[in-house]
């Protein structure tokens, strides 16, 4: 009897975030039943897509007991890099006026590699110089914005928003399989594919096991013969590449780019991870948890706007959920000791 209550409590704590999501949806639906529609679902999934990819990158780093503040700025860098090379030939303000039409994968690859390089830099600073991740990535956050702004300010662009993106590029962000209410946006499929790959890395690879081990107890990881430095560099690099890829998708989705793209996205990503059960002290976190964390925030954004709530109130609710999620998470931890 007693035992059952404890089990139930543990179960409730474990799955609290799914409950929160359900309560949110039900509450909004009661307020306005039009909320429950296939269009809403598609919109929420679409809006979640790029955020999921950023949050997964942030999750990699958080699970190692680190934090990556550079995420948003890398998104901006990748959006500008890819956008600048993918404008239609007859656009009046081309970033590179004489650039021929490149195969679409080249600019995408360049942008992802840009993110990868920032990630390697992050990992290298953290691993080689033992700079706390918060500080290391704060540094690259500022630097990446500087680099991106210099690029963005080059002649002839001179800080004009990049527009006129090629339709074969923007269709990645806006197109879908099929038409009508039951169509599946490409971007959602891409996010699911990326999530699946990350899930495999987390659960089925040596890198994943090492990531949990480093976050769980970095000293024990060293003693176990894990090359902690190399693994950290790899992890930050993958995270950087994911932000880069998300930046490309942002450019494709919105049909443009500026150096301010992605600003503060890292905070949303970290918040989503934390709400999704990733421990800020490291060693704990799952892909499904991160996905739900992201969706919760999209539901709040979308749903509360849908019912016409003042956006400032939405911020207050978002903040409360972040704090409450961590408080519950910590209780979970305490209850086990």
């Amino acid at each position: 009897m007693n035992f059952d209550t404890k089990k139930l409590n543990e179960f409730l704590l474990q799955y609290a975030i799914y409950g929160v999501l359900l309560v949110l949806i039900v509450a909004i639906a009661i307020y306005n039943s039009n909320f429950l529609s296939i269009n809403t679902l598609r919109d929420i999934l679409m809006q979640s897509s790029t955020r999921v990819i950023i949050a997964l990158g942030a999750g990699f780093v958080l699970i190692t007991a680190g934090v990556d503040l550079s995420a948003g700025r890398v998104v901006g860098l990748a959006a500008v890099l890819s956008g600048s090379m993918l404008q239609v030939a007859d656009y009046s303000r081309r970033f590179f006026p004489n650039l021929p039409d490149l195969p679409i994968w080249i600019p995408i690859l360049v942008a992802v590699i840009g993110g990868l390089i920032v990630g390697i830099l992050n990992g290298w600073i953290v691993a080689k110089f033992s700079v706390p991740p918060f500080i290391a990535t704060l540094g690259t956050y500022v630097m990446v914005y500087g680099v991106n702004s210099i690029y963005f300010d080059m002649k002839p662009n001179e800080s004009q928003p990049i527009g006129g993106l090629r339709p074969d590029f923007t269709i990645i962000g806006s197109g879908s399989i099929g038409v009508g209410p039951y169509s599946l946006p490409f971007i959602v499929l891409i996010a699911l594919a990326v999530s699946y790959i990350v899930w495999i890395i987390f659960n089925k690879t040596k890198l994943g096991k090492n990531m949990y081990a480093i976050g769980g107890n970095i000293n024990a990881a060293k003693v176990s013969g894990i090359n902690v430095g190399l693994n950290l560099i790899l992890i930050y690099a993958i995270a950087g590449a994911l932000y880069g890829f998300a930046g490309v998708l942002e450019a494709a989705r919105t049909g443009g780019a500026t150096n301010n793209y992605g600003n503060m996205y890292e905070l949303d990503a970290i918040a989503a991870c934390v709400v999704g059960g990733v421990s800020t002290t490291g060693g704990i976190g799952t892909v499904p948890g991160i996905l739900v964390g992201v969706v919760i925030f999209t539901v709040i954004n979308y749903g509360l706007t849908f019912v016409g709530m003042n956006p400032y109130w939405q911020l207050i609710i978002k903040g409360l959920i972040i704090v409450a999620a961590v408080a519950v998470d910590i209780r979970k931890y305490i209850s086990r000791t």
Partner: protein, 505 residues
């Protein structure tokens, strides 16, 4: 007024957690001015009982009576106010502040007028100095705590307890990180406290110490009260048999390993740190248990961590099976089939939030890597299952988080981790530290079995009976230097101590 026979009585305390009866009708009666040892294997309920005393848990039934008065204790602050304080095994001082601030933390003497109150540093200094003088503790109240040894910090904690006018001081494994001299120093303080009528509840696994310092001994087993005896009626073997609930015919398993040819030769190993080990040369044979003895500070851990590639070397050679090898990282050591079980299980051993599977397989992941970077999880689980079965790890499943296991079982999982890598040489640093008697015997059996299989073992131990009972040869260190390698036949406690203190003045 009649004289009170017992200063503290914990009568018929029971405490149930979901699924476990942690305390079942336990009684602890402490006479005034005595040292009362509380003994039992890990998991016997000692800490739960103490947590009831400090209000961290509320007992389901039973009373706590101090000085004839029934107490309601809700938290450790209440306990402190009643004159009950505790010296924890792991001390948590504020390292960057000075000694006196640590003593008076939370109750600084103040001076000033009205709302303008400031900390009175002068009074604090003199109060601290007076307190230390009273206890014959020689520490400068202005020293920064981080510059002090563990033993000094412990003395500060004791002084702090005294400053609260504590009548009962609980000491949890107080000697676990003290050297021989420091233990003597501590005992001096304890005897002094006893003279003033303070009672000490002394929790320790070290039998010799218990018999030396305590007046009464209460033994618990599986959450039950076994009994209280006068220390003079007890012997080590008696205590052990009462703790494990069976007669222990022997503390160490029968040994039938036969040391063979030299496997590893270590030549002139010297640390870049001048205060650490220097000029260490020795041979390790196949199927041998080579014990390393010495006092805390002898640099034994530093030495074997250097052999494992965790620490840099200024000089030195490793010759493995006749060939010189380089060991510059744990990965190198693993490649040469060397394994290390570290001393601080929690700090450098376990991954607390990960399941047993991961904790077991982490050092051997290369073996599970299939094509395309994926891991063969079934094989991983299979090996983990075999490992916990072979080493008799008590756990509901291999998915259990390792932090939920007892110390002994955690240690067995860690041994399993390294056995998976199929090492030829095992470096064991205090392999039975903080582990209860029953589990100790099992770990001794495992070590003996490994030696019989032809594996070579280097074992650091600070426990004399353990080092004497388990080693084929005993290497003694003092102040970073090798002072002697004794053969099992002519090794005695005396001889070891003589070598261990050779360079100490």
């Amino acid at each position: 007024m009649t004289e009170i026979k017992f200063l503290l009585e914990m009568d018929n305390i029971s405490k149930e957690f979901p699924g476990v009866k942690a305390l079942d009708d336990v009684t602890l009666k402490v006479r005034p001015g005595t040292v009362h040892a509380l003994m039992g294997e890990n998991g016997a309920g000692k800490s739960t009982l103490m947590k009831c005393l400090f209000g961290i848990y509320k007992q389901d039934t039973g009373d706590i009576i101090l000085n004839g008065q029934k107490l309601e204790i809700h938290n450790s602050k209440d306990a402190l106010n009643y004159g009950i304080s505790m010296i924890h095994q792991e001390l948590h001082p504020v390292p960057h502040r000075d000694v006196m601030e640590n003593v008076w933390l939370g109750r600084f003497p103040m001076k000033g007028i009205g709302p303008f109150q400031f900390v009175d540093h002068k009074k604090m200094y003199f109060d601290t100095a007076a307190l230390f003088q009273q206890l014959e503790i020689d520490i400068d109240p202005n020293a920064l705590v981080k510059t002090l040894s563990v033993s000094k910090i412990q003395s500060i904690e004791i002084a702090k307890a005294v400053s609260f006018n504590s009548k009962i001081i609980v000491m949890d494994e107080p000697t676990s990180s003290l050297t021989g001299n420091e233990v003597e120093q501590l005992f001096k303080i304890i005897r002094d406290l006893r003279k003033r009528g303070v009672s000490i509840i002394y929790i320790s696994h070290k039998m010799e110490e218990i018999l030396q310092i305590s007046d009464d001994v209460t033994i618990m087993r599986d959450g039950k009260y076994i009994g209280t005896w006068n220390a003079s009626e007890l012997t080590t073997d008696l205590i052990i048999s009462k703790m494990v609930g069976r007669d222990l015919t022997q503390r160490f398993p029968e040994r039938s390993n036969v040391p063979g040819e030299v496997v590893l030769r270590v030549e002139n190993l010297t640390s870049p740190n001048p205060r650490s080990f220097k000029n260490i040369t020795f041979d390790l044979r196949k199927g041998e248990v080579l014990g390393i003895s010495g006092l805390v500070g002898a640099q034994r851990t530093e030495l074997i961590e250097a052999i494992f590639g965790l620490r840099a070397l200024a000089e030195g050679k490793f010759i493995l099976n006749g060939q010189e090898i380089k060991i510059q990282s744990p990965a190198d050591a693993k490649k040469h089939k060397i394994a290390l079980l570290t001393e601080e299980r929690r700090v450098t051993g376990i991954f607390p939030v990960l399941p047993i599977v991961e904790n077991t397989a982490i050092a051997y992941l290369n073996a599970y890597q299939t094509s395309y970077f994926l891991l063969d999880e079934n094989k991983m689980k299979e090996d983990t299952r075999k490992s916990i079965e072979k080493l008799r790890v008590k756990t509901p499943s291999i998915k259990e988080l390792i932090k939920n296991l007892s110390g002994g079982n955690q240690q067995k999982v860690l041994i399993g981790r390294w056995l998976l890598t199929n090492p030829d040489i095992l470096l064991l640093d205090e392999p039975t530290r903080g582990i209860d008697v029953g589990a100790k015997f099992e770990i001794y059996t495992i070590i003996t079995e490994l030696a019989k299989q032809g594996k070579s073992i280097i074992m650091i131990s600070s426990e004399m009976p353990e080092i004497l009972g388990m080693s084929d040869r005993i290497m003694v260190m003092c102040e970073g230097r090798l002072t002697g390698i004794l053969d099992k036949k002519n090794a005695t406690e005396r001889e070891i101590m003589r070598h261990a203190t050779l360079y100490l003045v």
